[in-house]
């Protein structure tokens, strides 16, 4: 039996989940969902930003090469005896994968049959690292090609340029996969050091979503996992003097694209401490984006009618405890003119104020998009893990959205949208091909 099982329910959405702390230190969420596919995601609070750290019992900080969290993700698939974890999942038919972000490394699978066997494999391979100098070298070749692949992708390059323009210090600047040079410094010893620090179960969460029994999940945790020493990881983000203003106003690069791609970034250093407040601000910014930049906005329609932007102007807000920014991006033959119009539009909107009716429609949109996201076990699992790593419970999302007022959104516009917080990154066509 599970001790201290917490049940959280949201009657509006018609969903609930169970949460408990397994005796090994692992946090577990079980989200029942009657679909054919069940999903599990097992993640550690460890991403590309965690390159300088120590345990509370250590004297000195350790600094490691960039790209190591991602490298470790690749290497964990290798099991003792030269077997690949993919081969183990292949026996159950599960579809397995993994990813590394700025702040997370996650291992996951979806399965229509043999769910519990696959869950055993997942918990087992992630908690049993195995690598040698030889296998590390082999991986350098594969990841080298992964890095090259991203170098050919305009969207990846645009994002990297934008992060460097927004931030001076914040480690979101670092490429998740590192560079060909930085990964060349990685060896088995550093990998074990990082593994032993960050893959402590107290630093990890398991989320399971599907037609799954919570007691059975607990039994599998009992069977596979070994209790972890409680530890405290101290990370040095080295961003104390990150300015409120953007690092630079423009970043231009040239690539073989047909038309310039631009991304206007709005930097926000005013990140609420309280997780619920953070979530509220994130959803409120989404509502604001919908009001200001969606296809029903005057900004979009004016630029679109004059063919200044592509039909797919997109806006998105990233708000976590580590960083917060808003991005507006599309393609345009004249990004500088779009930028100018953007600045004028924001100033003008501030002056005349946000419209009540537009606010209600946009809030409805965000409310509906949130409910729509509860139709897939993969999407639910991913959203829970992202939210829980930011200390927020996904099932509170609809209440938080409902609590947002026009005044609250207006205040984000007033405080957050100022010219010193704006920057723009552009990927231009090659000069000799224009």
């Amino acid at each position: 039996m599970i001790k201290d099982l917490v049940v959280t329910e949201n009657q509006l959405i018609g969903e609930k989940h169970y949460r408990f702390k397994h005796k090994t230190g692992l946090e577990v969420y079980v989200f029942p969902k009657e679909l054919t596919t069940s999903y599990a995601i097992f993640a550690t609070r460890y991403g590309s930003v965690d390159n300088k750290f120590k345990l509370s019992t250590d004297k000195e900080f350790t600094r490691v090469p960039d790209g190591i969290a991602h490298f470790l993700e690749h290497k964990l698939f290798e099991c003792e005896g030269g077997i690949d974890a993919f081969e183990l999942f292949a026996k159950t038919g599960a579809n397995a994968n993994a990813f590394t972000s700025n702040t997370m490394t996650a291992y996951l699978f979806s399965a229509t049959d043999n769910f519990y066997e696959s869950l055993e494999i997942l918990l087992d391979f992630v908690t049993h690292p195995y690598f040698t100098e030889e296998t590390v070298q082999k991986e350098q070749g594969i990841i080298g090609q992964e890095i090259r692949m991203y170098e050919d992708r305009p969207g990846s390059r645009l994002n990297k340029e934008l992060m460097e323009a927004l931030y001076k210090k914040n480690k979101i600047r670092i490429d998740i996969a590192g560079t060909i040079e930085s990964i060349a410094e990685i060896n088995a010893e550093i990998l074990y050091k990082c593994y032993n620090t960050f893959y402590n179960l107290n630093n990890m969460t398991l989320v399971v979503c599907g037609d799954v029994d919570v007691e059975k999940v607990n039994e599998i945790c009992d069977k596979i996992l070994v209790p972890a020493e409680p530890i405290e990881i101290i990370r040095d983000y080295e961003d104390e003097d990150e300015p409120k203003e953007v690092n630079k106003k423009r970043a231009y690069i040239q690539l073989d694209v047909s038309k310039p791609l631009f991304a206007i970034g709005v930097k926000d250093t005013n990140i609420p401490e309280c997780p619920r407040e953070r979530a509220k601000k994130a959803y409120a910014t989404e509502i604001l984006n919908e009001m200001l930049f969606s296809q029903s906005s005057s900004f979009f329609n004016e630029l679109y009618e004059t063919n200044l932007i592509a039909p797919d102007l997109s806006s998105s807000c990233e708000l976590t405890k580590f960083y917060s920014f808003d991005v507006i991006s599309s393609e345009s033959n004249n990004p500088e003119l779009v930028y100018k119009k953007f600045v004028e539009y924001i100033e003008n909107t501030k002056k005349i104020g946000l419209d009540k009716e537009t606010f209600e429609l946009s809030k409805k949109t965000i409310y509906a998009s949130n409910i729509k996201s509860f139709d897939s076990t993969e999407e639910i699992g991913d959203k829970i893990i992202y939210n829980t790593f930011d200390d927020f419970d996904l099932l509170e999302s609809s209440d938080v959205i409902n609590s947002i007022t026009l005044e609250y959104v207006s205040n984000i516009l007033k405080e957050g949208f100022k010219e010193e917080y704006y920057t723009m990154a552009v990927v231009e066509p090659l000069a000799d091909k224009k």
Binding site: E34, L35, T36, T37, D84, F86, E87, A90, K91, T92, G93, A94, N95, A96, S110, A111, T112, D113, K138, E139, G141, I142, I143, Q145, E146, R148, M149, E151, D152, R153, P154, D256, V257, S258, K259, L261, S294, Q295, S296, S297, S298, F300, N301, Y304, E305, N307, P311, L361, S362, K364, T365, I366, Y367, A368, S369, K372, D375, S376, T377, L430
Partner: protein
């Protein structure tokens, strides 16, 4: 999988897949045209112009506001090619009525779709000049932007070379010079042709008042004089004559290698499951021969995967490699095919591939669009099979069947996109 089906008009069918497990409903409205360089640019333009404005909602802004009002209903243009078919139209995804207490989201979204398709915004009896001009530019931008993604660009270039004299070579977006020649009047002519002559299939997945939608569609079509065309079937080349080697140079950091094969597979034989199982063993998963050998053992690449087409029987292998590794990668990819041709498939490999395919088939039931697409594309191949029925066929497949299939595969084209100013 279809719970009920309605004959709406001549050559117009409405199919309903009823399920209560989703919080959303899904609709796809599909025109089925022959894929042809004479009409591809027009058919690519139609979904764009129809979703741009209608008589009732004459601007993009009014359509968007209406969609917001309908609880963020998602109504968008669709455009796809499938063998000799050009399939285009609209698709929609909307929240189920039970989450709204003020409006009937389903009915209102269906009405909006009918408005967009049957009651377009016209000026002097044809599409608006300004909108046609704008959408032409958007389509041209879209065609020109194909160069941005180098991997898919390489795939497309390979297919162009491989299927030079075949209908599959026609782009579903059309060609820039043809788009430029479109006028408001000629586009309106294309619209009339689509609505009067092309076969039409509508899918609805979810939980809604389907009779009401059927009646609404019947009413819309009652004003149209339908005379549906027969779409000519294309000949499919079973074997390659000889291997074509094509090299392009662009400013890329990584070489993109794409191999095109003929598989001799015929959709009329209802053996797509064999082709998919072969593909899974060869390069369709992280335990496939290509992944385990070309990537994991030889460390040549990050991606190396194969894919097969349901209609044309073409197989493609794509990989991103260093410029100087082309020969060695090409050989490694062919070596792995020869392993299957010799029957070198372990029981474990084979069982894994089967389970993986079955997992994929079963998960189709978890997505409304996947269910609709399954039924639709299978029906275009004259099959009404279900994912569960295909699972049984996969279970019963033998290594010998896969080996036999592999032995009919021939290499047609090797395409390599490499960086400029590189030697060799």
């Amino acid at each position: 999988m279809i719970d009920c089906s309605y004959e709406i008009a001549k050559g117009v069918r409405l199919n309903y897949i009823k399920t209560t497990k989703f919080k959303t409903n899904y609709i796809s409205f599909n025109f089925i045209a022959p894929l042809s360089s004479k009409t591809a640019h027009y058919n690519a333009m139609l979904p764009l112009i129809l979703t741009r404005a209608s008589r009732k909602y004459p601007t993009q802004m009014e359509i968007s506001k209406r969609l917001q009002y309908l609880y963020s209903a998602d109504v968008g243009a669709s455009n796809n090619s499938f063998g000799e078919y050009h399939i285009f139209g609209l698709k929609a995804n909307m929240l189920n009525n039970r989450f709204a207490n003020d409006i009937d989201i389903n009915q209102e979204t269906m009405n909006l779709i009918c408005d967009l398709i049957f009651d377009p915004y016209l000026e002097n009896g044809v599409f608006s000049k300004a909108y046609v001009k704008g959408e032409k530019q958007n389509l041209i931008d879209c065609i020109e932007a194909e160069i941005n993604n180098k991997s898919s660009y390489a795939t497309k270039r390979m297919l162009n070379e491989m299927c030079k004299d075949e209908v599959f070579n026609v782009s579903k977006l059309g060609e820039v010079q043809d788009v430029k020649r479109i006028t408001s009047k000629s586009l309106y002519g294309a619209y009339k042709r689509a609505i009067e002559k092309y076969p039409i299939v509508v899918y609805v997945v979810g939980d809604c008042d389907i009779d009401a939608f059927a009646n609404k569609l019947k009413e819309c079509f009652s004003k149209i004089d339908r005379s549906p065309i027969e779409i000519p079937l294309a000949e499919i080349k079973e074997r390659a004559d000889s291997v074509k080697q094509i090299v392009d140079c662009e400013r890329v950091k990584q070489g993109k290698l794409v191999l095109g094969f003929r598989t001799a597979y015929k959709y009329t034989e209802n053996t797509y499951h064999l082709l998919q199982l072969f593909n899974e063993v060869y390069g369709g998963s992280p335990t496939s021969k290509l992944f385990m050998n070309v990537r994991e053992k030889m460390s040549l690449c990050y991606t190396c995967r194969s894919a097969v087409s349901q209609r044309m029987g073409v197989m493609m292998v794509s990989s991103g490699i260093e410029f100087d590794k082309k020969e060695i990668a090409e050989k490694a990819i062919i070596d792995q095919l020869e392993q299957i041709q010799k029957g070198n498939i372990s029981k474990e490999e084979f069982d894994s591939a089967k389970k993986s395919i079955i997992n994929g088939y079963k998960s189709i039931y978890d997505s409304a669009s996947a269910m609709a697409n399954w039924v639709f594309y299978r029906s275009l191949c004259d099959s009404n099979t279900t994912p569960l029925a295909e699972c049984e066929k996969i279970e019963a497949t033998t290594v010998e069947q896969i080996q036999e299939l592999a032995n009919r595969i021939t290499l047609d084209t090797v395409y390599f996109l490499k960086g400029e100013n590189t030697d060799d």
